[in-house]
Symmetry: C2
Subunit: 313 residues, 2 copies
């Protein structure tokens, strides 16, 4: 008997949905809008309706369906309760209980960054590994840690919050989390632009970055074109990130590090420059740890969510 599983990735703008076979073959992929009105009270109902409609469309039987995996942008407790997801409008919410009731299916929930790491391990850049660290370089820096095939959620839901390693406590600017000098302030797209603006202001050197709109992409494009100022900015970014990743490795010693998020679109040059500092600072037995680019892009969430409930069988 073929078995099916749903993977649902809840974001602040849209909800990505996937119907998979249990081996990871994706059969359908679709999106619905995230209705954040009235503290997001319609979100789970919309998800349930969409799942039930797909079951009807494909004429699936309940006993063929393993369940629904769902990830949300917030900390998820072991019992399936989310402790607030600001971007959706949720306070404390029993997402597993509610979605189970509305679908009649088994549900398993996780944090979006953690679940994306699981997805990359299953079908992306981390295939073949059982211990993985993923870092997502986007507006912020997210992350996920997998040990022995399982997501490390942590005692307070903060497992994998590796964007908030404190790399420079004397930074005068505060991070979104309230602390000073988090990795996120140096290695996110926002952090890169922050560093670049400071460097441009302080530099007397000519650079293609001057007078143009400064974005993470523009910085890496200039770096690839051997712009000196861009080189300094990227080296600082890479030293901060490479050093932090090396430090994280002495805690959990993953078999592979997967780098994803918008900034990682810079490609292999990003991996190469980060690796230079990683190798310098990593504990000897970790120096050869693979660093690879994520492969699933925005689909990591739906894959990981599906895997979440498959692993629970």
């Amino acid at each position: 008997m073929k078995q099916y599983v749903f993977g649902i990735d809840v974001g602040g703008t849209s909800i990505k949905c996937g119907l998979f076979e249990s081996d990871g073959t994706i059969l359908e992929k679709w999106e619905i809008i995230t209705r954040k009105q009235e503290q997001g009270k319609h979100v789970l109902t919309d998800v349930a309706d969409s799942i039930l409609a797909m079951i009807e469309k494909r004429d699936l039987k309940k006993e063929e369906i393993i369940g629904v995996g769902i990830d949300v942008p917030g900390p998820v407790q072991a019992d399936g309760t989310v402790d607030g997801a600001v971007n959706i409008g949720w306070g404390k919410k029993d997402i597993v209980g509610e979605l189970q009731e509305q679908t009649g299916l088994k549900v398993k929930a996780g944090n979006d960054a953690n679940v994306a790491a699981l997805g990359e391990m299953w079908k992306g850049g981390g295939q073949g590994f059982n211990d993985l660290l993923m870092v997502t370089l986007g507006t912020g820096v997210g992350g996920g840690v997998i040990v022995n095939g399982k997501i490390v959620t942590g005692a307070h839901g903060a497992g994998g919050e590796i964007g908030h390693g404190c790399v420079n406590p004397s930074d005068e600017e505060a991070c979104n989390c309230g602390n000073h000098g988090c990795l996120e302030q140096y290695a996110s797209a926002t952090g890169l632009v922050r560093m670049a603006k400071k460097a441009i202001d302080a530099s007397s050197e000519d650079s293609v970055l001057m007078g143009a709109e400064v974005t993470a992409k523009a910085i890496f494009d200039a770096y690839k074109a051997n712009d000196v100022l861009a080189g300094q900015i990227v080296e600082r970014f890479a030293e901060t990130l490479g050093n932090a990743l090396a430090t994280y490795c002495c805690v959990v010693d993953p078999g592979v590090i997967v780098i994803g998020g918008g900034v990682s679109k810079a490609g292999q040059v990003l991996v190469d420059v980060v690796k230079k500092y990683f190798v310098r600072d990593a504990f000897p037995s970790c120096k050869n740890t693979d660093i690879v680019l994520a492969q699933l892009g925005n689909d990591a969430g739906v894959y990981g969510a599906a895997k979440l409930v498959i692993d629970e069988r």
Copy 2:
């Protein structure tokens, strides 16, 4: 039927042995000498003989014995092979296979620092927790990480090598591991003395540390007596350690941090000063993570080793 378990902690000078009931009650505790001659070829035989003698002395039946847990000062692979333990004289060695053959009992092996963390979780400072980070401040800085009750060994046996988080890559002196600026160079007994000697040389201020033998104990004693220079040294130690522990928490988010090793004999004042910087730098949901002193001292290894094989039942 009562069940029994052996916990064996192999060190470079002596081998600590314990016979436990399965609930953790210790019945016998003894030591044998570590015969390191001939690449430590007698060590496992000595351990096996000692276990068999105890079984005979107490007239235990094989079916009453859960097994033997053993820890060694080196990285242990998942299959029970140690990849070299310099202090014992071992190269690559199948300790589980050999000890099983010589005792006829089930054997489970682990790295000494990791196993000590398990011991502290079972019967020491970390009781009641399932996720724990232990840091041992001795000649070096060792560590162990427990997630969901299990030791994190890592892909290269470097899980919990938290003494080698790279906190200051521009340090001119090299760490024993070959890198520059490891936590161990600041937070071990040796590291404290290193910092103190530099501070003494650079200071014009009067201090009880001048002209005396500088040890970790002397530094903390002077700190307790409000010596200004000792205060500066301890604050630097505490900022480095507190910041590193905060960073480790955003990776695995333990429920408790246990501080052990010789330096921790300074007591609660050490916890207090480290906590000040930990709270400053930790991710908001981790700021309340308990930091406690280890309770088992040199017995953490035998307790943890026993627990290792109990968990395997």
